[in-house]
Amino acid sequence: MSFWPWYGLRGGQQTESWEASVPAGASPGRPVAAARQDADQFSMICPTQALRAQAGRVEVEMDHCVHCQRCRQGADPLPWQEDAAWSHWRDTHAQPFPARFRRSLHVLYVDAGACGACVNEIRLVDAPVYNLHRFGIFITATPRDADVLLVSGPITDAMHRAVVKAYAAMPEPKRVLGMGVCAINGGVFGKSFASHGGLEGVIPVDLWIPGCPPPPLAIIEGLRRLMGWTNGPAEREVR
């Protein structure tokens, strides 16, 4: 017979410290802007226009980066760093929740055409190492109970109505979090007859989490930013 409580206790505490540096492999990392003489030519290797040459530098537009790794493969790559604090407000008017939400935030997740990698990363936010619940964040079953609408995917035509209805059903105050490059601009699927090309113009968005997919740490960081917390896991310098 299996004695599950004992197996659980025997494993000890497995949750990783929030302030510690990002554990190896917990993030795919991202390219970092750098000055280089061949900036014009180098930035063309990016298939999603996430690299932009400007005054002898290669600038990185994280909202377009799908971690295809082309700028770090090859003889003379861009530097990359493994971090996970990627979220940013959509505009300057956006506000975090009032402080009373800091111990209880309820999130409804909607898949609006995500490829499965985003879904898989969301499924891990309550894994022991990440333990989303320690921050008072919970996944809820209905928009009526949700404070946050977390959306991934390029917003397919068939999910458009469902996303709009879910948003309308949420009580105020509410915030919308667009997760993954697809939700920001359609990602590799772009805008077409079948995809809206992201959340913009579908419902009002407060915060973006770029990444393809954003790892669990980046998702939690985004949710914490919505609650008004600003500290995230420390960066890890790698090549």
């Binding site: 492999g25 795919p28 999603t48 971690h67 055409g113 499965g116 190492v129 397919t156 077409s192 079948a194």
Partner: protein
């Protein structure tokens, strides 16, 4: 006479059939619409051939003229068969789905997206394009349709009603989805019940239809690669490998030996992670939270290992036509070997705990059973097929890459229930770990990439993805742009049979059965 020559001989003596063996792997036949149903039935019933995929192509200059290709493979003879038929504008093809039921959804899809009608098919309509949204009579895969923007007009608006077959007093249709209470992929599952038992299930998918096959058209090879890699992120490596193979087959190039070995290593790494994620979902669906946490730890371990050896948790950006984009270094290899020992130990411990938890086994034994007969009729693939007694695996039956030298063991179970599928997920993960361990000590030295010229032409390529056989068909133009990309995925095959495993189950078993199937909606919807 061997079986392979027997099949060829039979085809050669088939009246009025032109047979041309273009290359070593594929028998190509041109047939007429009248010949099609009889030929397809004989292939499947007499020669035990498996239906692979169906491909429609519109003629580049003659609108509404189609070339339709039916692919079959004969597992015992290791042979692939192509039946090609020209369809003139306004004419129909006979449906083969009463003889080859696995082709049922393919025919519905071709009707929905091309407007190609199949005579005798009972359920054409409302499939990929939902009737309440999409204007009637607009076929998006036709050349004249522009992918850039949605056509004006609506479908029948909010009037669409879920079907209801049950007419008993108190019978209801209980909808699940498209938005879920937790983290599932979007889709609509309509459970018909008089209160407790599910009598019928209607699965309505394609809420996530991103029209990947359509938007790939006109893209450069490199750009469409991103689509093939990311339309189903949980099996990115498998699908991008199939895509690369298609480009390589058109160019007539082969990846170097080291690259072929590394591809197997990464593919098995992906399979192991995919299966562990399914195990975590199965544990979670039965509310066994400690077991779920243990399985989640395994998934996270695989993902971190992937990021450390390949730079990305889901192995994105690794492959390219001609080989790999990046090499595996000695320290990464050592890290990989060390991780495998740890992961095997944890996996075995979890399996032992689960196999001795009677309350857990009660929830998955004789649950969501797909009988061997249905598995054959629906032509299911991958772990689902192997859990229902069908020892099918393209790595063995149509070997690609270096799998002809590194033949994996193919586990099978007979019961076809949830527990059989769980055992298959465990067994295949352990076999993948063994294969990785063996290979990691014997990787050939040498280059990881060869120059792969982009040529005009077309080719079919296949990979045994974590969830089963995937067939990618690609046609490239002179300038290297994609003219047609067909993604014949395992998700599309297996969802078709899912309804058969639900009928008669109790209401509360639905999420458990769903988890034991572990199917990807993104892979189905494309």
């Amino acid at each position: 006479m061997s079986e392979a020559t027997g099949l060829r001989h039979w085809l050669q003596s088939y009246p009025a059939l032109s047979l041309s063996e273009v290359d070593g792997y594929c028998l190509r036949l041109v047939c007429t619409p009248e010949q099609l149903p009889g030929l397809a039935r004989e292939l499947v019933e007499h020669w035990q051939a498996e239906f692979a995929t169906l491909l429609v192509e519109e003629h580049p200059d003659r609108a509404l003229s189609f070339t339709v290709r039916y692919y079959f493979y004969a597992p015992r003879q290791h042979h692939l068969l192509e039946l090609r038929i020209a369809v003139a504008p306004g004419t129909e093809l006979p449906a083969i789905s009463d003889a080859v039921h696995a082709a049922d959804w393919h025919e519905r899809e071709a009707w929905d997206l091309y407007g190609l009608r199949f005579t005798g098919h009972p359920f054409l309509g409302d499939f990929v394009l939902h009737d309440e949204d999409w204007p009637e009579g607009v076929d998006p895969m036709l050349h004249r349709f522009s992918a850039r923007q949605r056509p004006a007009g609506e479908g029948s608006g909010e009037h669409w009603q879920p079907p209801q077959l049950l007419e008993e007093e108190g019978a209801i249709v209980f909808p699940v989805g498209p938005i879920w209470g937790d983290y599932n992929e979007s889709g609509l599952w309509l459970l018909e019940t008089p209160g407790e038992q599910i009598r019928y299930l209607h699965t309505r998918l394609f809420y996530k239809y991103r029209a990947v096959e359509k938007i790939a058209e006109g893209q450069a090879v490199d750009q469409a690669f991103l689509l093939s890699e990311r339309f189903a992120g949980a099996a990115a490596l498998a699908h991008s490998w199939a895509y690369c193979q298609a480009v390589e087959r058109i160019a007539g190039c082969t990846a170097p030996r080291r690259a072929e070995q590394l591809r197997i290593l990464f593919a098995e790494l992906e399979r192991a992670r995919h299966h562990c994620a399914n195990i975590a979902e199965i544990c979670g669906s039965t509310a066994l939270s400690v077991a779920k946490a243990m399985a989640q730890n395994l998934v996270e371990d695989w993902l971190r290992l992937s990021a450390q050896v390949a730079g990305h948790r889901y192995l994105f950006g690794l492959l390219c036509p001609g080989g790999l984009r990046q090499d595996l270094h000695a320290e990464q290899r050592n890290l990989w070997i060390a991780a495998l020992a740890r992961l095997r130990r944890d996996l075995l411990a979890l399996r032992e705990h689960l196999e001795t938890s009677s309350s857990f086994l009660d929830r998955i034994e004789e649950m969501g059973t797909l009988t061997a007969d249905f598995a054959k009729t629906f032509g299911v693939v991958g772990p689902i097929a192997r859990a229902s007694g069908r020892a099918l695996d393209l790595r063995r039956h149509l070997p690609y890459g270096a799998y002809s030298e590194w033949e994996p063991e193919i586990p099978t179970e007979e019961q076809g229930d949830g527990y059989a599928r769980l055992r298959i997920f465990f067994a295949e993960t352990l076999i993948s770990i063994g294969l990785m361990e063996e290979m990691l000590t014997q990787i050939a030295d040498g280059p990881i990439r060869t120059e792969c010229p982009i040529r005009a032409g077309h080719a079919l390529a296949w990979v045994e993805a974590p969830s089963g056989a995937t067939f990618h068909w690609l046609r490239l133009a002179e300038d290297g742009s994609v003219l047609r990309l067909r993604l014949g995925t395992p998700g599309f095959r297996n969802w078709h049979a899912f309804e058969r495993a639900i009928q008669g189950a109790a209401f509360q078993d639905f999420p458990i059965i769903l988890a034991t199937w572990g199917l990807s909606v993104a892979e189905n919807d494309r």
